[in-house]
């Protein structure tokens, strides 16, 4: 099993979620995040004090999938999340050695 971590623009959440479910994923976990990268931030003013905000709101998706469908899911994410503008985000993939469904102690891919 592989864990797919995708950092995307918040405005793309709905689209990406649908695309991923399309691709045959059963479960997704979503986390609010802030990101710093090539995308430049913006300036805020509070009573003359200037803040350059270089941590922008992002959404992080964590999806654990069986090896077979990794590419399919990645494609789905890329397809739905891309705007072509800097800041679209990243996808990271890493191995998962075991998965357990708490409800019934199922293990392995069937637990996903």
């Amino acid at each position: 099993m592989q864990k797919i971590e995708a950092i995307i623009q918040p405005s793309k959440l709905d689209a990406v979620k649908d695309a991923v479910l399309e691709a045959g994923v059963d479960g997704i976990t979503i986390i609010e995040a802030r990101g710093h990268g090539r995308q430049k931030g913006h300036t805020e003013f509070y009573r003359g004090r200037e803040y350059t905000v270089d941590l922008l709101p992002k959404i992080k998706l964590e999806i654990v999938v069986p090896d077979e469908i990794v590419d399919k899911v990645v494609q789905a994410i890329v397809g739905a999340a891309r705007t072509g503008k800097i800041g679209d985000g990243k996808i990271f993939i890493s191995p998962i050695t075991e998965a357990i469904r708490i409800r019934n102690d199922e293990r392995g891919p069937t637990a996903l």
């Binding site: 405005s11 913006h42 805020e44």
Partner: protein
Amino acid sequence: MRRFPRRFPFRLSIRLCLLLALACCCLPGAFAQTPASPATMADRLTRVEAAAADAKSSADNAWMLTSSALVLMMTGPGLALFYSGLVRKKNVLATMMQSFAMIAIITVSWAFLSYSLAFDSGSAFLGGLHHIFLKGVGAAPDADYAATIPLQTYMVYQLMFAIITPALITGAFAERMKFSAMALFLLLWSFLVYDPMAHMVWGKNGLLNASLGGRFPTLDFAGGTVVHVTSGVSALVCALYLGKRLGYPKEHMAPHSVVLSFVGACLLWVGWFGFNAGSALSAGSLATSAFVATHFGAAAAALGWMAAEWFKNGKPSALGGISGAVAGLVAITPAAGFVSPMSALWIGLIAGFFCYLMVTRVKSWFGYDDSLDAFGVHGAGGTLGAILTGVFASSAVNPIFKDAKGNVLPSGGLEGNWHQVLNQFVGVAIAWILAAVGTIILLKLIDVTIGLRVTADQEAEGLDITQHGEEGYDWAS
């Protein structure tokens, strides 16, 4: 323990020393009142008549200043909270700023020009320029408007109405309009639409002025047509002209904090007492009956909307409850000083159902994006209320029509004077036309000059950051 005050023993003594105090520092030749006084009864009578009139004036002024403060509270923080809770987090400050900017801008334009345009006598459609820069607006009352309070009190009270009216429109183009365009548009709007409408309904020689013998006497106690129909109709035009928010209706655009909206709605309710009961322009029993009608209308409408939701969704919502209350307050506004408490309950109940349908059904049928339902609530509710005023107006509550011999004539339809309903339609029609035409012209004008909408990117990033360089809630701290 209610009656004890009047049993107070040392009250007489107070009264006496009060009298002396008053005497010493108010009445010339007061000494004249000491027992040894040579003053004739006539002098004393004249003085006490003046003193009684002064007391009445202070009493009414106390209430009108309180009402003015309450009406300002309706816009800030009331409406600002109500609206900003309904938008997404990224637009919360921008939405608040739209109401706040109206407080700042309209105040100045009112002082310079608008008060004169609205309340100086002049044509049937617009006031003159005698009062620009508030010339001649001082401590002396103007009996045509309010005989017992300083004209300046009347001016500042009316100002609070002129502030909230354009602020109501902002609900229609929330989350997508440029701040600069918004400010300019609403400033011009108040000249082109609000001032004429206010003049026609309340100003001297006003075409629709029912109390100063206008051509088509329209009953509008506290601004159903002047405030709510004009703002609501303009809101609809704005929604149609500006088009939808990006992603509407597909995307998730739920209110970011119904909690804020709830607080705002409650403050609107409380402030509305100043809006409606204050429109009696004195603290007498008419203020009381307007106060009661206002409260009853709001309560019944809240129940109406919630009942509709309960029936439709299986559960009533907080947002529904407060939306209903506001709808009821809107609908009762033109009627407040003319109808009985029981009629107020009816008006409220009908308004609750009606606005629920407008907001949940009609809007989706036509598919325009009146983001915060400024039209669905104020336009629809205001129109409904104006008509119903003609139906429910009661001469027992407020005998506004008399024949030559001074006999009281029926006020509303239920009393047989269905003709009044016609007059109400006239008033409403004029408000619709004026608002629609004026709004289109101004939107077009601004669209071709500085432009109305923010860019798609700015809209996506949010108006708080792009228009004001701030965030409403700082994630880090």
